[in-house]
Each structure stands twice: as C-alpha cells, then as structure tokens.
C-alpha cells in the first residue's frame, strides 16, 4: 500500500517537475509570470486526445506534432502580446504586474475556446493501460512511460542548459538581463526563445498528463497553481530544484490522498506552499534573497 502510493506519487511528481521546468524558464528568463500556462498544458492534452481518438495517432508520435505546436503558439503569444509589454515597461515590477494581467486575460481566452470546442466534461482515453509488475506492486504501463518521458525531457533540458553555448546564453539572461547585452546577447530574442521552449515543455507535459489522467477544459488553473508552487519551492530558475520540488509535491499529494482524504490534496499543497513562503521565500534550493 505504502510502496504503491510512493510509486504513484513519483509518477505524478515527475509530471509536475516537467511542467514546472517550463514555467521556471518562462519566469526566470523571459520574466513573464504566465497565468495561462496551465491552459496551454490542457490545450496540449486536448490535442493529444483528438490525435489519438480521431486519427488513431498514438500519443508518443502525437508529441511530434503537439510539442512543436506548443512551441509555435508560445512564440507567437510572446511576440504579439508580451513583447510590447516588455518594451513598454523597463522596470521589472511593472512588467510582472502587466504580464500577470495580460496572461490572466489569455487564460480566459484559451479556456473559452476549449469550452466551445470540447464542452466542460471530463476527458480521457485509454493508451497502454496494461498493468506492469514492479517489486510486487502493479502500476499501469502508461504511468511508467509518463515518468520516463518526464525524466528524459527534464534531463535533456538540463544538459542543454548546462553543457551548450546556447544554454549558457539563456542562463546569462536569467542571471542578469541588464548586463547580457554587454557581451553581445540579444536579450529580446533569447527571452522569446526561452518563453517558447517553456511552452513546448508545457505541451509535452500536457501530452504526458493526457496519457494517465482525466482532464477538463477548466482544469488549467490547477496546473498553473501547482507549477507555480513547484517553481517557488525549487527556487525561481533552478531546474534541479524544480525536479526535486515536483517529486516532493507529487509524493505529498498521493500520500495525503491515499492515507488521509482525497478531498484535501489541494489543501496539503497549499500548506506546503505557505510553509515555504514563510520559512524560505527564496525556495528550498534557491540562493539567498535578492
């Protein structure tokens, strides 16, 4: 019982970590606090759902379509909507306020489109729902696949950011956007690109979510919230922190759901969030406050 709960928690946590990495890129590099992030995730889930049920394309192949679409959509959102805001407001507080409001509007637009097309009901499809035996407990194969994918994407991103020249450029902008131009970095285009990669990760997360969870058009808010909590717990811009925090959050949620009451999972998440805010506002793995 305990072992199976931990296993489920790790799977869930892996998804949270994957999703939060995208948000930490968007907020850490492009300085956009994107409240419509969860709705991009849900949009990708719907995309995978349609590809699988209508066209018979399995979600793994579907990713080849959905992830570039998420990248393109986010790139477009940044170029059309957020870049003018970023140009208008030169100080960071103003940009954060404006971007929160603008993406809050975007949240309702994306959610509204999803509601018009798919209605408000819960959706799911059955892919690889075969039981697999691990150390005496059974778990559905799609969950294992979801976990594997989350880890692969996370590690891949981490390697790109720490081992390549382009990753260094992104980290430079995250560390100090004012000084980055001094070494010949085009901050605008790097920010746009980072925002788009964040969108691609959200899309990947959406496909992963759709493989083993039921989802609905209005669930985006919950994913945004969880991703935000993971980002803050892990420390803004800290990928490994996001990974660890995501796993912790997933574990806590599953343990609360299986041993206390499923209705209290969100309350548990918030309690952790509050505790982190009060004790370590810079995040569990963050550096000292700026």
């Amino acid at each position: 019982m305990l072992f199976s709960a931990i296993l489920t928690g790790l799977v869930l946590g892996g998804t949270y970590a994957l999703v939060a990495m995208g948000l930490t890129l968007q907020y850490g590099v492009a300085r956009i606090m994107n409240l419509a992030y969860g709705d991009i995730i849900i949009a990708a889930s719907f995309g995978a759902f349609v590809l699988f049920t209508a066209l018979g394309i399995n979600p793994l192949l579907g990713m080849l379509i959905v992830i570039p679409a998420g990248f393109a959509l986010s790139w477009l959102i940044y170029a059309v909507m957020l870049q003018p805001l970023a140009r208008r407001s030169r100080d960071r507080g103003r940009l954060e306020g404006d971007s929160i409001l603008a993406t809050f509007g975007l949240l309702f637009v994306i959610q509204g489109v999803a509601l018009v097309i798919f209605g408000s009901g819960f959706m799911s499809y059955s892919y690889l729902a075969v039981p697999v035996d691990i150390l005496g407990t059974t778990i559905a194969a799609n969950r294992l696949l979801a976990f594997g994918l989350a880890i692969t994407f996370g590690l891949g991103l981490w390697l790109v950011l720490t081992r390549t020249r382009f990753g260094t450029v992104i980290r430079a902008v995250a560390a100090n956007p004012a000084s980055a131009p001094l070494v010949g970095i085009d901050v605008d285009s790097v920010a746009r690109f980072a925002f788009a990669i964040g969108g691609a990760l959200a899309a990947a997360g959406g496909v992963v979510v759709s493989m083993y969870l039921t989802f609905s058009a209005t669930m985006g808010v919950i994913f945004t919230m969880k991703a935000l909590i993971v980002v803050i717990m892990g420390g803004v811009g800290n990928l490994m922190g996001a990974l660890a925090a995501g796993l912790i959050l997933g574990l806590v949620e599953t343990l609360v759901a299986s041993f206390i009451d499923p209705g209290l999972t969100l309350a548990a998440t918030y309690l952790i969030f509050l505790a982190v805010l009060v004790v370590r506002p810079q995040g569990l793995f963050g550096k000292a406050a700026r």
Binding site: P84, V116, L266
Partner: protein, 305 residues
Amino acid sequence: MKFVLALVALVALAFVPSFAGPYPLGLGIGVLGYGVLATAWAMFSGPTRYISLATVAFFGLGAYTVAVLSETLPYPVVLFVAAVIGLVVALIVGLATLRLAGIYFVIFTFGLTELVRQLVTYYEVNVTRTLGRYVFLPLGPEHIYWQLLALLAATLGMAYWVRQSRIGLALRVIGDDPVVASHLGIRITRTKLTLFSISCVIMTLAGAIQAPRWTYIEPSIVFNPTTSFLVVIMALLGGPNRLFGPLLGAVPLFLLFEWLSANFPNHYSIILGLLFIAIVFVLPNGVLAAGESLWTRLSRREART
C-alpha cells in the same frame, strides 16, 4: 458642496426600488454589488499594485456563512459572523504573503479561491453531508438593494477617508517605493495588512448580503472565478487610483456582461479575455486618467494657438 451632491445622489438612488420593475432592480443590485467589490478591491490594490485575484474567495465565504447560519442565528448576527470570518482569512493570507514581494501575493490569491472552494466542499461532503444549501430569508430584492446601497456608501466613504488619512498616504508611498517608505518609518506590513483586511471584510459582506438572492447555494456557484476576474477588469477600466474610478468601470462593464451572457453564452469568456487584454494594453491607468491626460493635452494645444 461635493458632500451634499453625494448625499442627494444617495437619497435619489434609495428611491429606485419604489418605481423600478423587477428586472431593472435586479440590474441595479448587480451594479451595486460589483461597484462595492471593485471599490473595495481598488482600495488596497490600487495604491500598492498588489493585484488580488481572490475577490470571489471572500465574496463566496460571506455568501456561504449566510447559507449555513441563516436558520440558527438572527440576520444581523450572521452578517457580523461573516465579517469576522472574512477578517480572519484575510489576516492569515496577509500575514503569510504581504511581507514578501508582490508576486507571491498575486500567486497565492490566484489559487486561494480554488483552495477555499475545495475546503468548503470537503467540509460539506464529509462533516455536514449536504453539498447544496437553501437560503430562506424574508428579504425581498428591494431589501438587498438598500443594504448594498448602504454598503457602497460606506465603502466609498471609507475609501475617501483612507485617501485623506495618514494610512492612505503611507500606502501610496509603499506602492511607489517600499524602500523609501521603510526609511520614512512606515510600518509596511502593518499598513498593507490593515487595508487588505478592510477591503476583504467589505467583499465578504457584499457576498453575505447577496446570498438570499440565489435561494440555492453550492460551492461551484458562489466561488465562481469569473467574479474575481470581472472585479479586476472593472477597477482597471475605471482607474484603480481614483475614488469613483472602479464604480465608473463597474456600471458599463456589468451591463455589457449581462448583455454578452444573454446573447453569447458560449463565447462569453473568450470575449471577456480579449476585452481584458485590450484594457491592459490600451488603458493601463484607467479611463479617468486617460481622459484627463487627453484633456490636458487638448487644453495645452489650445493655449498654444
């Protein structure tokens, strides 16, 4: 002079229920309700720029308190209890988040509605074993109208007083530059917490007063996130830093939303979202400020010629 004018307007508005039919009266209640929420929202969020996305959490708490207690306690006591509950929640949220940068506050309030809704649902399902509740109070729409009108007058009075008083000035300094504020000896957290609590208590009361209108109440009805969204957009349209700005934004937008939800029920939230984005882009300081700057530009041009 201004005071007399406001008093005359208040008295005139108080006579509306005696001649208005049920539909216009319903519209009036809606306008007043959103006017109260938007003014209360702007009282805190205007000067500090701490954007609260949790208006409906407090609104819903108020409505739910009335639904739960209306049969056991007399109505005025129920309103008082609702205000106390709103105050306690506001203090908890404020103490945890107002010491930190604004972004944490926004994020926390963003999820607060969902949290409160789930907790209330959990409580109702597991402890009282009833999800929906009926509110039977001998209050007609005109009573609700008068109560809301009184609350609006009190809110505007409070907002006016805050603007004149030391605490309002302190809040504006904090909003402009927290570092300067702390050097001036302003107790930042305490000031923010006071104003945030006042604003939340008003929102809670607005929900409590409007509860009898629904007759049937359940968490998904009273904790509808669209309400928070509407309040922010109204205050922003009118201008959150003006006394009458939020109210001025609430009147046209509420009527527009009523019309939209009657004619485009399916595309409602898409239109809302686009409108919201447009307002953030075009009118970052609200209609009143935009009108004023246009006015000064025009009059300057006239002076030159």
